[in-house]
Amino acid sequence: MTWGPIKPAFVLVISMTLVCVLVSPLVLAIPVSAETKTGASSKKDSSVYAVLTKAPKKAVARRNPMEKDPDAKAAGAKLFGMHCAECHGEMAEGQGKAPSLLADEVQQSTPGTLFWILTNGVVRRGMPVWSKLPEPQRWQIVTYLKSLGPLEKALQ
């Protein structure tokens, strides 16, 4: 095929593309502080959970419509495995930047708070919004999370 002589704009764009493609994984891989390297230590870093307090009162008070659905926990476990486990760990124990969901801060939150977090994500900390999952599926995930109980219970 015939392309004209290489133009500065072309070189610039190619360079920028390469830089972005190469640098963005590194940006994500910037070493984090020792406290946030494991789920257990994430649990100690209370600032990770501060976002739970930012849910509006109306959202906090929402009740889980799937609470009494007998399939909700199993369906939630399936959805958790598909969408959440890759960051939060298979057992929700937390890994990397993703905090443990077995922490007291999470387990003591209302279902409405967890639903609000799922819906809005924590974009600044790298958690994407999950409103692309229909509401019933988000409630199913909340049902599963609340069924896990605190870390001590999970360990037992």
Partner: protein, 350 residues
Amino acid sequence: MLVKITLSCDWVATTRTALLSMTNFASCESVASTIGPIQLDSIQLDSIQLDSIRPRVQRSFLLRCLLAFAGLAAFAAHAQESPYIVTYDHYLEEPGSLEVEYFSTFGTQRHSNDFHAFWAEFEYGATAWWTTELYFDGQTTFNDSTIFTGFRWENRFRLLQLEHFINPVLYIEYEQTSGADKILKEVEGHDVESDYAVPNSIARKEHDHELESKLLLSKTFKGWNVAENTIATKNLTGGNPWEFGYAIGASRPLALKALPNQCNFCPENFVAGVEMYGGLGDRYSFGLHETSHYLAAVAAWNLPSDWTLRLSPGFGLNDNSHRFLLRWGVSREFSGFGSAVGRLLGGRKQ
């Protein structure tokens, strides 16, 4: 020769250990299946005298490259993709995930040959608010030729952190394509069917450098996603004016609740909808005069095995449009790609 075989075994052992440490959720079967091609590759590399004379650094680099490809299989993630081909909703790629996609468009052409245009996409979630994507386009015009038609680099930025009634995303793309590009990823300005009737040998001589911006507005409510894209494009070659276009779409999963069991045919895995897109003229002649418009049904099947299939039959809505466009696509998402690359390059250890 004995030394070479020993080296191969050493490589395989190292590779197996590295793979197991890279991903503690990879099954033994998947590791074993991944080892196969590496073994062959290492033997081939040995045959070009990869022995103790070669610097250890070079071996390490090659090993890392092999691991990067082999490791991809272990980072597959279940995709929850929208069915749109042209329209964008406000959902970005998950941070650190790489989505590899292939799309095809078959189009009818009056007064010339039908065509099959295709493109590959590499979509990477750099952060939760920034997704960057690289496209490579090509096309086959029947009874003419098959040619590479250019590349595009696209970036999408989420403007607001929380979900709102309407969620805006800024889209900026640079594209360098030839005049023979036919993927119809968007329609803008006065794009009409007759533009695509030019033989490849002539059309490919035209080189376009375009800056394309879009404002993506999207909302999901009770399972329904409604998205609207406003397009403004400037061809940087020549004194072309800004051109405008639009795309709108609506879609919904077949079921809102998930079934508790894993299944390919669970209704929640299917998303169906409709999209409409077309041109709105340019700065000097804004409006519907001499523009083309399309209406297309869209459907996506999100398989639990990490693949997404999309199908979209579309129809031209006026005489300036291609009568029929059949699009389909297949994609696979690899989560944790960014951190895997980071680890291979000596970044964070998790």
